[in-house]
Point group: C2
Chain length 319, copies 2
Amino acid sequence: MDLLSPGLEPPPITRFDIEEAAERIREHVRRTPVLSLERNAFGVPGRMSLKLELLQHTGSFKARGAFSRMLSAELDDSGVLAPSGGNFGLAVAHAARVLGQRAEIFVPSTASPVKIEAIRATGAEVHVVPGYYADAYAACEERAFDTGAVFLHPYDQPAVVAGQGTIAMELGEQLQGIDTVLVPVGGGGLIGGVAAWFAGEVRVVGVEPEACPTLHAALAAGEPVDVEVGGIAADSLGARRVGELGFAIARRFVERAVLVSDETIAWAQRRLWEECRILAEPGGVASLAALLRGAYRPGPDEHVVCIISGGNTDPAQVA
Amino acid sequence: MDLLSPGLEPPPITRFDIEEAAERIREHVRRTPVLSLERNAFGVPGRMSLKLELLQHTGSFKARGAFSRMLSAELDDSGVLAPSGGNFGLAVAHAARVLGQRAEIFVPSTASPVKIEAIRATGAEVHVVPGYYADAYAACEERAFDTGAVFLHPYDQPAVVAGQGTIAMELGEQLQGIDTVLVPVGGGGLIGGVAAWFAGEVRVVGVEPEACPTLHAALAAGEPVDVEVGGIAADSLGARRVGELGFAIARRFVERAVLVSDETIAWAQRRLWEECRILAEPGGVASLAALLRGAYRPGPDEHVVCIISGGNTDPAQVA
């Protein structure tokens, strides 16, 4: 760790923040298990372990950040607001129900009707905003200004990033000798938390769909930049721009961001079901996809962990 | 443990046999993870953990028994034979490929075409025998007599039962303070191995579909008896008669066998997907089904483990 090296700003999230988040959320999240595979599983050299975060409450890691943020905020009767048509919306709605808070979720009209219905089913108030995520985000911010409710950002608030980082803290407890962690990247909350925890002690590599290259583009440009997003995993990894927090951490502690095609993601999804009976969403298997066709090539003795980050998909589409 | 109590025959399988089996199969099977759930998960009192054995090679616990049996047999060029239209056939075909042995699998013509094709895809020779499992079994025995190949029984051979018992040995290493283990029962190989390991130290309860009540009927009759089998889980739990080994162990170390309806099994399958993103086969969730509608009612502080024993199902049917 070079936390105190001269000339570098301290990272915006530290291990201490993540330990505090872990303490806050302990009784509300699942300690998700790890499946360690046989050597050369999937025909990939080395040793592979899968962190099964799709088994988390609401089917993705987003529950960690949602609880972490809500439990560190001062909440009153106005409750919380969040813009999301997907996993973060589900997680916030769930956390609000568990904690007895009001929640309003702003979803773009282009979001999946199934996810909108699932959010509504938890008891949250759902506002369907015509347009895309940016439109839902703007409406949500305006509403926060009007009501005083607490605004929960899907990936660019310290307590959210620290909450996602608890996955890495668990991994460190569950496995010895990790060389590399492959992390699916959307807005950068998960990889920010993971990289902040490992802080250079373990290689952290981001994986993005070619159709949603936010971190890849930001690392190339030297700052977060807008990108076009689309493709098979856009519902979970389709942020248009990586967060400031995630980028600041990634620039320091993430080795690189690799890209995978939609077709490779779909193939990884099928292979994971065939070999392990794990049914993940497209964004959730981006990490594995990077290994299957060589976007990331481990050494013969390297121990690589793939975070399987979510399972909110229609099983029939994988079958 | 009352292994040496006067008046009781020693159990046919002991912890020592299971430890030996574990040593034999170590490098060929996965140590499947455990998901420990929050208190009152699924609205059930107490503490629940799920042993995710569906993540095993070939999607079920049968791989343990198949490797255990093959690695304790003296094999020659004749290879191995097994009667099964389902999970055991898949497991034997897989083990034979890994160990470089010939395998012939005798499947009844009534077996699922998907499973038959999956067995064939591993490279095993598949004989489709007109009729039901009993017909395939008879043809397989005859072939063993003719060829000298090693006959692998799906559940009623010591090395098979000891192999399945390694699940319980793992559980004992993975979890502290288990009160009760709920085990899906077909021919009794799994529950025989699990009960032999715990040997009365942990409550072991069998769970069967109402439509496949082999152990329930045997315990009532005082000996294995033929039953009619059918229903949603018949492809994995549809043995017509519990094995002699499993019965001898169960009579001594299994508290009882409870029954669940097909409708409850299907409901448990859906609920497990909704709450945990785990997609199991009907026979694989019988254990959980017993908790959901009270076929087994745990106490308020009881720690119950459900073995989720297989995942060889069509995801589209759960969706």
